[in-house]
């Protein structure tokens, strides 16, 4: 039995995961502190979303432990995993609202499936959550009638309806206009503090994420490149962390995709 520290809601130890021959994570160890906002950052394609799916048990690692509140997720039985997921919320990049249900029914969905609550109580709970994200007036709209930002807020209301202990946000700021982005940034912080949640944010919007995050993890090439508070990472010695946080076009991550010698390529002629 692997012991988890009570300070951390999620602990990942020596975890490796690969897709086909390609290693996505190679002996990764990281922690997500309880009650705080943790942001996981890294270049596109480094498996940030995959990490969320591993934590949620939708994917199984090749080796290592993923402890969520003391439960080793890869070792859980199907029914135990589904029970644990009731305590996790996840906000997908697209919102993933059910397109055949209204906003109200989307938010009410987990309650209807998991509980036997009377209709009047469901109504009150849904309206409270919708009010928290500012969409009480949009309850009768269909998902196709919502803007991208509104869809994400509605999905956020749905992911907190069961009062989870943890919520995972998959790229919540991507493709949002500045106002919608500011609304979501504020909601992430407010919900975390008001509901005593543990929040995990996957993002590469540095400014927005740094403004609210308590704990920052930077991953690249299947490894954790840096972990700590935003202040600690600002003074981090790694060139990669500096390149990433400052958004420099060239550095340890080269501007050029690996290629042969330039001169030879031009003079050598030949095919393509």
């Amino acid at each position: 039995m692997v012991q988890a520290s009570s300070q951390n809601f999620v602990e990942i130890r020596d975890m490796s995961f690969s897709r086909g021959d390609r290693a996505i994570f190679d002996n990764v160890t990281l922690r997500i502190p309880r009650g705080r906002i943790t942001t996981i950052m890294g270049p596109s394609g480094t498996g940030k979303t995959t990490l969320l799916r591993l934590i949620g048990g939708q994917l199984r690692p090749d080796s290592g432990h993923i402890l969520v509140d003391g439960h080793d997720v890869p070792k859980l039985k199907r029914s135990q995993l589904y029970d644990l997921r009731k305590r996790m919320g996840m906000l997908f990049q697209s919102g993933a609202l059910f397109s055949d249900l209204t906003v109200f029914e989307n938010v009410a969905f987990p309650l209807r499936v998991h509980t036997e609550l009377p209709e009047s109580m469901i109504r009150d709970l849904v309206l409270m959550k919708l009010s928290a994200v500012g969409l009480r007036g949009a309850r009768d709209l269909m998902p196709s009638e919502l803007s991208g930002g509104m869809a994400r807020r509605a999905a956020l209301a749905r992911s907190i309806i069961m009062d989870p202990d943890m919520i995972m946000y998959d790229e919540p700021f991507t493709g949002q206009d500045p106002i919608a982005m500011a609304v979501i940034v504020q909601l992430v912080r407010l919900l975390n503090d008001a509901m005593g949640l543990t929040s995990v944010l996957v993002s590469h919007d540095i400014q927005e994420s740094l403004s609210i995050t308590d704990h920052l993890v930077i991953i690249a090439d299947g490894k954790v490149m840096g972990e700590g508070s935003p202040v600690e990472l600002r003074d981090h010695g790694s060139d990669f962390v500096q390149q990433f946080l400052q958004g420099l076009p060239d550095g340890p991550v080269p501007f050029h995709y690996p290629a042969g010698d330039y001169t030879e390529d031009l003079i050598g002629g030949g095919g393509r």
């Binding site: 949620g56 939708q58 589904y82 009731k86 997908f92 397109s99 998991h114 069961m162």
Partner: protein, 259 residues
Amino acid sequence: MSLWLQQIGRQTLHRLATLGRSALFLAGGALFIPRLIFSRLFIQQLFSTGVLSLLIIIVSGLFIGMVLGLQGYTILVDYGSEQAIGQMIALTLVRELGPVVTALLFAGRAGSALTAEIGLMKATEQLSSLEMMGVDPLRQVIAPRLIAGFLALPLLAMIFSIVGIWGGKMVGVDWLGVYEGAFWSNMQSAVDFSDDVLNGVIKSIVFGVVCTWIAVFQGYDCVPTSEGISASTTRTVVYSSLAVLGLDFVLTAVMFGEF
């Protein structure tokens, strides 16, 4: 040569793995079926796969029955036995055309819709979000569609046959003047309940299971991109049609073949 062999081996393994996955998928979905009978989810699906397919089934059944009446009459009238068209139409429809044509139309109308719907749910992460809410998509999405398809196809096939017989009667009796008493009494004496009607129903149940299974699995297993969904939808229609025609021969040989 060895590369070629490798390719064949890889393809075969890949197909076998897919077949295994689809069998597990069917078993997993079927486990939830008993809990879903008469649930709202099931009724909704029965509406969209069954009731919404009624128009195409009724119109096709009517025309096929009418054509059978016309063709049957022109052939049989040469032998002076045009009264036999009642029995010819009924046997053709109940044994073969009812289950087979209904299944082909079902694959095109309802099967493709099922695949596209589930594929889009996968592409828009709705299936993933169900999983993350602690709701098994097999229970919530797959099982209701499976049971609805299993039930809808036999019912549609019966409606198809009934409408077809009515269409044949319209052409044969009302239009071409075959004696109505002979039309119905020939049909009644020639069609046997267990040999013909029941075998036809068994065929349509088999087709219902196969077509729905293919459609739902193709959606669930598709590559969640626009190309992936379109390829899966095409596969649903092609595989279902081939499976129906192939199985029809096997079932006919078992049911009606004299070995």
